[in-house]
Symmetry: C3
Subunit: 275 residues, 3 copies
């Protein structure tokens, strides 16, 4: 078991690791978490035996949450990179010979949803998972791959509903829309994902690696260039006065803080008081 600040890596076997994500109290994505993800990515690429990695949260309310907007400095931490390095991380994960699975229990919103989308496969709790790209409700746009992945997996019309509607989607709807693999009853989720991972871990690494390369070649991975473009778009959008005004309202209402506002973020961000 390897523990850092935000991530705990459990070596179930040489071929199968589980990564517990834990940034109390509401699992915000922050620069330290990203730094640790980059270190983990090096470990994944350097390991000859690893076949499958499962990401899960220790927080039953939040899988991974949006950015911690109060904490954007690149820390003095191994693996630390500016957020503009995100498209490289995503591309490494997608092209890795290791299969990555997001086991989603709790909310996955904005950057946290984009992290789940960057994993190869998503299995989600029917009762507890929720997915949202809330950016448009905050006068911004998704810049971390949300547009790319949801468009590819759910098609244009549903992607427009997700991106412009900026609301929470439960697991059953996410499954119907195609942007998660399966919605699974919460009581069965852990056993299902573990059985899937144990199965993959018994297969030959060379066959898994080639199979993933073949699917990547045919099904398409958003290009790193496209992801950079969205990333740069977001950097420009962050200068909009509409966004600063929205953020002031959001912070006053409870954004990024423990409480009911964050639990019901999709619904609440659609009903902010007028300026």
């Amino acid at each position: 078991m390897t523990t850092s600040n935000r991530l705990t890596v459990i070596h179930e076997s040489p071929a199968y690791w589980r990564v517990l994500i834990d940034n109390p109290p509401i699992n915000l994505w922050d620069p330290t978490m990203f730094a640790e993800m980059n270190v983990l990515m090096d470990d994944i690429e350097n390991d000859a035996d690893l076949k499958i990695i499962v990401f899960e949260s220790t927080n039953e309310d939040f899988f991974v949450n949006h950015h911690d907007l109060a904490n954007r400095e690149v820390p003095d931490h191994p693996g630390a990179k500016p957020f503009s390095y995100w498209p490289t991380f995503v591309t490494r994960l997608a092209q890795s010979s290791v299969l990555s699975v997001a086991k989603v229990r709790g909310r996955a919103r904005a950057q946290g949803f984009e992290f789940a989308l960057a994993c190869d496969i998503r299995f989600a709790s029917r009762e507890r998972a929720a997915f949202a790209l809330v950016e448009v409700a905050g006068a911004s746009v998704p810049g971390g791959g949300g547009v790319e992945w949801v468009s590819a997996l759910a098609g244009r019309s549903r992607a427009l509903e997700v991106v412009l509607g900026a609301d929470d989607f439960d697991a059953d709807t996410a499954e119907r829309y195609g942007f998660i693999n399966r919605s699974i009853p919460d009581s069965e989720l852990d056993a299902f994902v573990d059985a899937f991972a144990q199965r993959i871990a018994r297969f030959e690494k060379r066959a898994l690696e080639l199979g993933k390369k073949m699917v990547n070649a045919r099904a398409g991975v958003p290009s790193e260039a496209d992801l950079w473009t969205s990333n740069h778009v977001l950097a420009a959008v962050n200068e909009w006065p509409e966004g600063a005004a929205a953020l002031t309202k959001l912070n006053a209402a409870g954004f990024g803080q423990v409480g009911e506002f964050e639990l019901n973020l999709g619904q609440r961000m659609g009903n902010l008081p007028s300026a």
Copy 2:
């Protein structure tokens, strides 16, 4: 409220318009309706405040029906254009900064289905909506985007079933096949769509516009060139003798007329008497 001949535009707010479509008795698509749609498209593009537009029918049996084949002359009416201008209209709607929603209650067939597909999002009544591209059953092919949109949203095998089978699809099947966003119980449809539209209307126009552009860039809009090609194919197909023979039988059976034949068009066009 703006009323023309076929369309009534209700300004729910500066950001949210509803358009009632009404061409009694069976909501056939005709050159006057297209002319009014072109005028509306100008209004949409020229309005700085509009964010979302919802299209719905006043006729609970028909959302928008197929072409009125007995009425194909370009009228002396503002906005009038030959039907060959259709790919331009569709492209303007898809590229508009305004989000368009088809609230489908009743049948959407042929041109009427293609109009619904040209809207960004489709929400449909579980009990009352039906969708069909009936052209092949009439010895023709869809020429207004039906092939393009259904192929993109539902994939090749389901598109072949829709286009070659030429039958009615209910809302639940349409949702499973992915060519509508959601099938919604009829009693909840109005409230659902209104809440969605009110939500969109509260967001910043600049974020909505950029979000739609980003999805369009990644998820693909059928090119105007592709739509022109299908349109021209249809013009050639309209010269086939098989089509003229089919039309004679269709007209004798009740095509384009009030009655049971139109209500059950998918089923009935699959069982026309032999020549």
Copy 3:
């Protein structure tokens, strides 16, 4: 009625043929079956009246099974071709003016699933159909179009689950994932498919042919070049020592033989004894 060794062609009408597939005891795909398929493909292309062809199995447990690995010699049989000719066969079927339907009752695995995917449309028995690309579990990869078709129909994340997981998928899951058109209760399957075929058979051949060409142009058919690439990849993979070791274990466990192992192949191939 035309009977050869593996295939029986029933001419329901000049426009509608049914093909019964029968290679007892477990419907393995073998070089003789492929030879007969090639002869049938010539007949399909040379017939001016044929509009729709339905493939079904006489074996309720197996639609079409994986390759008969003990029987790989090209036989002295009309239509015989080396397996490397498979991409050409698939491309001819996809580009044919005739609509092809796989009516899937029983298991469709590996080559048998890839044959079903090569058909234009798949309707499957809810209770009796199962689909699997088991190759990765045997230290190989799918080389006959499975990666191409499942990626196109189900998207990257579900394709990765199908290809790398190498497990059985029931018809309801296959429908949700989008790689079959519909899951239909077994008691209704025959009537549903027959009604669909009779309907298609009543339409004009010219309209059906053009409609299919238009969908092919927009929805994409895997290129013959891509299929050749996968085919060649598989030829190289067949030299891997991991595959030979897996095959020894598989044969000892009951692979390709009548019995429980083949009935539960997805589950059993995920639990082979360690080397």
